[in-house]
Symmetry: C2
Subunit: 219 residues, 2 copies
Amino acid sequence: MSADSVAKVVLVDDHKLFRKGMVELINGFKGYEVIWEANNGKDMIGKLTFSQKPDIALLDINMPEMDGYETAGWLKEHHPEVKVLALSMNDNEDSIIRMIRAGAKGYILKDAEPTELRLALHDLSTKGFFYSELVSGTLVNSLNRGPEGGKSQAAPLTDREKEFLKLACSELTYKEIADQMCLATRTIDGYREALFEKLHVRSRTGLALYAVKHGLVEI
Amino acid sequence: MSADSVAKVVLVDDHKLFRKGMVELINGFKGYEVIWEANNGKDMIGKLTFSQKPDIALLDINMPEMDGYETAGWLKEHHPEVKVLALSMNDNEDSIIRMIRAGAKGYILKDAEPTELRLALHDLSTKGFFYSELVSGTLVNSLNRGPEGGKSQAAPLTDREKEFLKLACSELTYKEIADQMCLATRTIDGYREALFEKLHVRSRTGLALYAVKHGLVEI
DNA sequence: TGGGGGTACGGGGTTTTTCCCGTTTCGGAG
DNA sequence: CTCCGAAACGGGAAAAACCCCGTACCCCCA
């Protein structure tokens, strides 16, 4: 893409009003144009097959159906030339690291200044990446916390674990969860222990809060 | 306000990018102008003293410092002529009812169509209210669930209860919470029971999820 | 052909949560 | 002045959550 042409942007976010607002904002930036939008990752994949391919994909993280992490991973595999900019509510380390791992070339917060968004789009277009202080600070921080600091995050959850996690975010007892999943309560104990380990929490409350914070469950 | 003048709108939301996008969107509607913005309720109150008074206040619900409910209540008391339109992520009954109780003249979701926002602004300007199907459906629903359906929501929490609730949204045991609040564990039992009753939950997990869902704690 | 990961399960234990039965104290409303 | 609600506290007990000790099967893959 040459420097004086228009960069084609797609917006993937499940909040329509936010999306429409962002379209106005981005189309107001000289040199950028939102060519189409999607509600979530699945929607985006569907539209990609019969629409123009974008230069930049602006991905929200918390979305139903297919979230930002998965979507970024899919783009990395199938369309690595599309540059992903993550757009998130929260600045927690895990999210940033997971997103960068999934191939995002930048990460900005939903309460950033419009000028930061503009700068991010510019850097993505020209340099191919936008590593703000937030991102670089986070990465340095995670590395400085010992040799295993970098790998401690983002242990992937199995399907069964995700299923259990959703049920744990409720007022069901573990016994009731076991019944719903057609398992012994002891097996549920196993899933709980595995998730405590993977997510670095010590209680069911911690489990539920983690799940909500990271968009693993709808609330 | 006459029909052919421009309605003055203020936007109160803690996410800057969303806000800026909404400004573009609303300013794009003929007959509406965003005259200023605020980060949260406190910020709005501060700006109101030395800025133009709006016709319409678009209030997000989940905000730090001073949330949408409190802000709507404050406006109802101090500037009842300002028409409040609530802008929320979630469509749960409690939020809608609380917001309407607090004086909101309308309630729309962040994933509404821009045309719905426009219609809401129009109705607010001309009729003074905008009760969408979401709102009226919810209100009818809540009344049909028995005579006490209407009053069951929105039992106000005391300061101490809010304090306890925040601490309950953590991995602290009740014993540790008691120590932090300088209380006996039995007293904590009392708060837990009171909140179970008020918030209609049966477990600590339910407590935490309720608090997050309704923006009573930052996460 | 052995190891590793995912899944599923048993027994026995401690700690925490939940739920009862109560009491006192204090300040404000009737 | 008396009643009421709120905040604070106690003892005891059942249920749930949490944490160990393990086993076994299947599948993939090096």
